[in-house]
Symmetry: C2
Subunit: 542 residues, 2 copies
């Protein structure tokens, strides 16, 4: 529920609006002309088993409130809860729910592009309603598109490979992804009743959601269920691949921590409370760490259900025709709201202080790096070089280059670099672009800039909608020509106070920056960033 100031009567009558899906009738609501159906159950599943379509029903089910989201191992206030407003929601293992926003129903002649949002939070946390930016109403209105967002199984429920414990668990290491595939099947079968074109489905996701988009391209079961793909801050340099043998070793430790064996597993696994499962994963991780190993939550590379990280195992022939948009943000997790090497706003630092900080961070390479930054971003404050992301940017560079090399369809590269007004100026943080491609930028307290946000969200939402409709962002209004990637160079559309294309603009900068593995701070489990500020200790202002 994202309350907006209303001016028209919301319709939620006894029998209106009703859509008849394959499984049965649903009642939604009409908010200022947008039909909204929340919390549609699209699948059911036994623990660690593949999802199945929901059973049919008589009568009318209400789809007026979101469904529960997947259990999380721990829910804290997110480290970015202020920057990126969160909507926390009750959790349930039985979490296969999706939401639909559309401008018409029950008229199958009107086939609109379907834009499917897959949430982030790694493969461990998050939900379709976690962030206010995910609200689909404005995007549906702006683009006359059908917006779908979905919840699916995460963490131990979605990605624990207990395939060694019975045939029914064969794909347990990927059931979290299989839920998403099942949602895409639901869309294929039902979305025309909601005004959508089942033959024009774009999957989009940010962070872990971008990782899920990348993974869906490598899952044969998803072939034909989507036609375009968008990855936002979702691929990292070097990629990562969870090998099945490692996943199974980890799962064995979890099973052991639960006090179960191969013999007792089947009869007991379904009834174990979630919090015990969660604790067992923590014990197992500790044991694995003793061996110097770690296995994160991610799709398991079994070379069967999941064909592996494309930058490592190669792009599948079947998905080479999928057009894509891939990008990242200037600051991401390195932004100056998280890292604060000196007091005061970075925009009021003296040249002397900046030079000192450059030397501290970059040592002998300081001059080279600052020069490369100036070349890449001549309009930015040089202080920003201290907070430039490379984790996701290098991931984009690699993903785009390899996909171009593999001779795939058009791929459009972008960066979102708009400085947010928080703290007298903060680099674009992880998630900051979502409000702009969802056309929700006017709702976000920490990032809204009057007069800038309005037109930039028009341009960006326009580009995303154009891409979803035509596989080409260039039909958007006020967007300069955006050419797809070519071999050996990086043409990048920059979304900032100016919007325009640049070529190889940050090549030298990315080469000069010392490589940082990961995010450079402890992400923890949603919240806790190694430097807690929200609800945390005092900040020294002097």
């Amino acid at each position: 529920m994202f309350p907006k100031k209303l001016t028209k009567q919301v319709i939620c009558d006894y029998d209106n609006p009703i859509v008849e899906t394959k499984a049965g009738k649903l009642r939604g609501v009409i908010v200022d002309g947008t039909y909204i159906f929340r919390g549609i159950k699209y699948a059911d599943a036994e623990r660690f088993q593949m999802p199945k379509p929901v059973a049919s029903w008589d009568g009318i089910k209400d789809a007026i409130m979101f469904g529960p989201v997947c259990m999380e191992i721990q829910t804290d206030i997110a480290h970015d809860a202020y920057n990126v407003p969160h909507f926390y929601f009750p959790q349930d293992e039985n979490c296969q729910y999706l939401n639909v926003w559309t401008q018409s129903i029950n008229d199958t002649n009107r086939k609109k592009p379907v834009m499917v949002w897959i949430h982030g939070g790694g493969f461990a946390t998050g939900s379709s309603v976690e962030l206010y930016a995910y609200d689909g109403e404005e995007l549906s209105v702006f683009g006359d598109v059908v917006v779908v967002s979905l919840n699916h199984r995460l963490n131990v429920l979605g990605f624990l490979d207990v395939s060694g414990y019975g045939d029914e668990y064969k794909y347990s290491g990927n059931v979290g992804m299989a839920d998403i595939v099942e949602a895409l099947k639901w869309i294929k079968e039902n979305i025309s009743k909601f005004g959508g074109d089942p033959d024009n489905v774009t999957i989009m996701g940010q962070s872990g959601g971008g990782g899920k988009v990348a993974a869906l391209l490598q899952i044969p079961a998803a072939d034909g269920l989507f036609h375009k793909a968008v990855i936002q801050s979702g691929v990292t340099a070097g990629g990562r691949l969870v090998k099945q043998e490692d996943a199974k070793e980890y799962a064995d430790l979890v099973v052991e921590a639960l006090g179960l064996t191969k013999e007792t597993f089947k009869d007991n696994i379904a009834s174990i409370p979630y919090f015990k499962l969660a604790r067992a994963t923590q014990e197992a991780s500790a044991k694995l760490a003793e061996k110097g190993k770690s296995v994160g939550w991610a799709p398991v590379y079994d070379d069967d259900y999941y064909k592996g990280t494309a930058t490592i195992t190669g792009f599948r022939e079947e998905t080479k025709k999928i057009p894509m948009m891939v990008g990242s943000l200037l600051g991401e997790f390195s932004n100056n709201f998280i890292f604060e090497p000196a007091p005061g706003s970075k925009n009021s630092w003296s040249e002397e202080l900046k030079q000192k900080l450059f030397k501290e961070k970059f040592g002998d390479k300081a001059d080279e790096i600052v020069a490369a930054f100036k070349k890449a971003y001549p309009d930015k404050n040089t202080a920003d070089v201290l907070f430039v992301d490379q984790t996701f940017r290098k991931g984009v560079l690699e993903y785009v280059a390899k996909r171009v090399e593999a001779g795939c369809a058009d791929i459009y590269e972008w960066m979102f670099n708009l400085e947010c007004p928080l703290n007298d100026g903060t680099l674009a943080w992880h998630n900051a672009e979502e409000a702009y491609m969802f056309h929700n930028a006017e709702y976000l307290e920490a990032s809204y800039i009057p007069g800038v946000s309005e037109w930039l969200q028009d341009v960006m939402t326009g580009a995303w909608v154009s891409f979803a409709r035509y596989g080409d962002p260039n039909k958007a209004r006020n967007l300069p020509l955006w050419t797809p990637a070519k071999p050996g160079r990086h043409d990048v559309m920059i979304f900032d106070r100016k919007v325009g294309m640049v070529t190889d603009h940050d090549k030298e900068l990315m080469e000069a920056l010392p490589t940082v593995n990961g995010f450079g701070f402890k992400l923890g489990n949603r919240g806790g960033d190694g430097k807690p500020r929200l609800g945390g200790g005092p900040r020294q202002s002097t």
Copy 2:
């Protein structure tokens, strides 16, 4: 975080806005002229012990995001999650946080009324941010008042009487209330920095929050910390009183379920995970039920910290001068979104069907009851008599009558009876009035009525603000004369599509209705109403 469509730059600069409280400096945000400070820690406490003021700090603490809310024994999607939009939030035992909305800071000459909101959810669940209606921005702007809302300890953390286990636990049965008293002390000491008048504080609460307001009048430690009081759907007929001997018997069973004794309690109680505490309370409740007893979460009547339910133990002399507003709603928990005795909208039922339902529900008394309803509410559909609340209405009748008898200050009685548009018409449900006295009615999807909600919230918010400012609602614009209660009669201000006073309008109706104990359905623990609709099974429309 309640995102609203913004048009002005939000200010959250490195050093602005800053308020210096007694303990240290806080940074908030400025949203369209309103200063907002979220998540101010007002107290710390050891488990089951009295709260203490927070330690002072150097530097600046951020108060830009809400603080965690109290742990709940179980968090489900609330049964009224659609009707009354909820904001779920991460939970922590360390939950003593408050939020402030104001129109000026650091000008102690501007002394504005302080309106303190105490949330509902019995004494077991809820938080200062649970409902969107609780957002204080619009109320602060409309009335030029300082709005404060707060979290405090609930359920086993706030109301388990382990006074038998050590002197430090002497008031453990009331530490949840003591947190609120500590928040009121924080207000007394700090609110002038936020533009508030520490000598003009109004406490307001709905449901359990109303119960807390009623309880604060019976707590000597709170004397002088507030000056006016508002109870919304917060007192029930007959009242209830948790006797200390019963509370201690229950606590003994909890301690036993935890495997602790008088000897081992002190050394172990603080480190027991919350979920184990929660489970122990469930075991203890089951054991108590075997004896035919039950003890709910509520302040414990020790005749020391808490002087007991006023309608049972008498109004304290010290608080007789406190002016009050007390009221309830037409439908409350009996509304026709919860109870659906026949298909279709109640407003489209035939006269024949209605007569059948009257007979089914009221038997031989049907004609008498329907006649009394017509007399009380001549403009309403007679079908509504099936869904009229009596739990809270009878509570108000009793509370007002007894307070008048006791010779207390002015008490203003009201009902909120506006039919909400959901399902082609639904009686005003529990919580429905909050958006009207917080001036947030335009944000609520299920209840907003264009052209009606706007003026009615002006009238109601105006009445509440006038009461907070002067102890008399009659300075509000467009409000008909509202006379305070007199002995032997009930003058009631009705807020509906018309606003006006009536006298003893539902006396016959309330006398004729068969008494229902409690809510008439299983409330459960936030969610689950015995007839689940949200995320639940199909509704038969035929």
